[in-house]
């Protein structure tokens, strides 16, 4: 399914932020908020994984229903997961398209990866001391 991906600081999640606070940064930034209708169309339930892909990469996120999200769009909190599939074009402003990247969303059985795994995929070496 083709959708427009919006991202935002986690603090911009409004009402949801309160419920997310106790959850780790990883869980928070790897959530894909979407409208219930879109989830129905994909045939997935809350908490199931989706594969989100753009021309720049692919990443597995966990779906969560949010009726404040317009159908046809998804919201992913600003962080390593969202950035994993955002491009570097800034349209002469220096600011990437954090709030408007065209992506596809599909149901998947693949597991979510950790932030460390994402970094390793990009060539990093996690530091864990």
């Amino acid at each position: 399914m083709k959708v427009m991906m919006n991202t935002g600081r986690t603090v911009d999640q409004g009402a949801n932020v309160e419920n997310k606070r106790s959850v780790a940064y990883r869980d928070e930034t790897s959530t894909c908020f979407m409208h219930f209708f879109d989830m129905m169309e994909l045939g997935i339930d809350e908490g199931e994984n989706v594969l989100v892909a753009s021309p720049y990469g692919r990443v597995v996120l966990t779906a969560a229903a949010d009726d404040l999200i317009k159908p046809g769009t998804i919201f992913v909190p600003y962080g390593p997961y969202a950035n994993h599939i955002i491009g570097g074009e800034t349209h002469s402003t220096g600011m990437p398209d954090f709030k408007s990247t065209e992506v596809t969303v599909d149901a998947t059985d693949e597991p979510r990866r950790t932030i460390y795994e994402l970094m390793e995929e990009l060539g990093g070496l996690p530091y864990d001391h």
């Binding site: 720049y56 002469s92 990093g124």
Partner: protein, 429 residues
């Protein structure tokens, strides 16, 4: 020991009334600070010593070795990028500019991915603003647009707006109106006297509609604009025009959405228009405690607030070309020095892929996402906790942050100063 009037090095509010309790060389409690500030003051798990990546291993090295590596990396580079700066003090930023100049490198700060578009708008139409105290003492109407201060600037409401009594407002809660404009409900919208919910991406249209009404041309508007009822738009303009002093604060909800700097330009022009009827000001809710300082320092030293390319000897500025995301995504830079920020957590994928391919040194007290892409990381004292230095509040007021802890960590300024001195030996004998 209790240290009063400490300056909080978290957000652009730069609250300077924090009481910090220090026992046995550790901060054990804070008073007056918000949760964000408290967690920073009480933060733990600092990196103990400089580290270097050797193959698939991290190895502890000495500060001298780390400085050697940094100097060699920068001297060897054709087009080094010096990025970050919003989480350190002005004195360190000044060294950074000198260093970029001598290296003929590019220096950019985090504003290019936060309020860079706001700066572009200001460069087109100017900026009618004021200090926070002017708002606290006078403003009878506040508009928060595309920002959520309760979460991002928790004391903004209590120190300057909703709950802050001022000289001309003895009962702020009663006498001030707060309007919140956003695409979704948030904790801040719950505190508003008036919540304006607009459709995502429609900020520009709503701002234009408000301008039309202020100019007396509202009759031509459709029934709703950007999901907002015409009646509500008229009501807001009426409130604004009747106010004695209005203040607009805007956040990334306006700078990152479609339209980017054109949104901000429209908002500034609305405020300009309102000044023909009453007093109105507008200001950005700056995020990092000293991101505004990095703009100030860069400006007095180079003429430009961010994104400065010294490759031709002169200071050259062209956002979209000389800004960090573009330089990385185009794989232009061949070395990167990162100071007090975390691009690997905040930059798009192509930028991080390039970081992985080039030598990177990070100067930062903590391990973060960017650490994974470093060849060397140098831990330093935290400005405002174990190092003192100048920071500029979101309204441009400079405040000297305090050193409240004695630690062995060098400051950013000291590390950068050593690196710069060594570069001078080679490039400016």
């Amino acid at each position: 020991m209790i240290i009063k009037d400490t300056v909080c090095p978290f957000c652009g509010c730069l609250c300077d009334d924090i009481e910090v309790t220090v026992e046995d060389g550790k901060i054990v409690a804070t008073d007056n600070a918000c949760t964000l500030g408290t967690s920073k003051f009480l933060g733990d798990h600092r990196m103990k010593s400089p580290i270097r990546r050797v193959g698939k291993e991290w190895k502890e090295i000495s500060y001298d070795e780390a400085i050697d590596y940094t100097v060699d990396m920068l001297l060897d580079a054709d087009r080094p990028l010096l990025y970050g700066w919003s989480g350190t003090h002005g004195e360190a930023q000044c060294v950074g500019v000198h260093m970029a100049e001598l290296l003929k490198g590019v220096i950019d700060n985090t504003s290019s991915v936060c309020h860079g578009p706001s700066i572009l708008a200001i460069q087109e139409v100017g900026h009618p603003g004021c200090t926070l105290g002017q708002v606290k003492n006078r403003a009878d109407i506040i508009i928060y647009w595309g920002c959520n201060p309760i979460d991002a600037h928790p004391r903004h409401l209590s120190r300057y707006t909703r709950y802050a009594n001022g000289f001309f407002l003895e009962n702020s809660f009663r006498d001030r109106k707060v309007i919140v404009v956003d695409v979704r409900k948030s904790q801040t919208t719950n505190l508003a006297d008036e919540f304006v919910q607009i459709k995502p991406g429609c900020d520009y249209a709503v701002l234009s509609a408000l301008r039309a009404i202020v100019r007396g041309k509202g009759d031509d508007l459709p029934r709703t604009v950007g999901g907002v009822q015409r009646e509500q738009l008229f009501r807001i303009v009426d409130l604004c025009k009747k106010a004695k002093f209005g203040a607009v604060y805007f956040g990334l909800g306006l700078t990152m959405t479609a339209g980017k700097y054109k949104n901000i330009r429209n908002a500034i022009e609305l405020v300009d228009e309102l000044n023909r009827h009453t007093k109105f000001t507008i200001s950005a809710m700056r995020g990092h405690y000293n991101v505004y300082g990095s703009n100030e320092v860069n400006t007095w030293m180079t003429g430009y607030p961010f994104g400065i390319d010294f490759s031709r000897g002169i200071a050259f500025y062209n956002p979209g070309e000389t800004t960090a995301v573009d330089i990385l995504a185009r794989k232009e830079c061949d070395a990167c020095l990162i100071v007090a920020s975390d691009p690997a957590a905040h930059f798009p994928r192509p930028c991080i892929e390039h970081l992985a391919e080039i030598p990177v040194v990070q100067i930062d007290p903590y391990a973060n996402a960017t650490t994974a892409f470093c060849d060397v990381q140098i831990p330093v004292g935290i400005t405002g906790i174990d190092a003192a230095g100048t920071a500029y509040r979101m309204d441009g007021v400079p405040i000297r942050t305090k050193k409240v802890l004695e630690t062995a960590y060098p400051s950013d300024e000291e590390i950068l100063g050593s690196v710069y001195a060594r570069i001078q030996e080679v490039r400016q004998p």
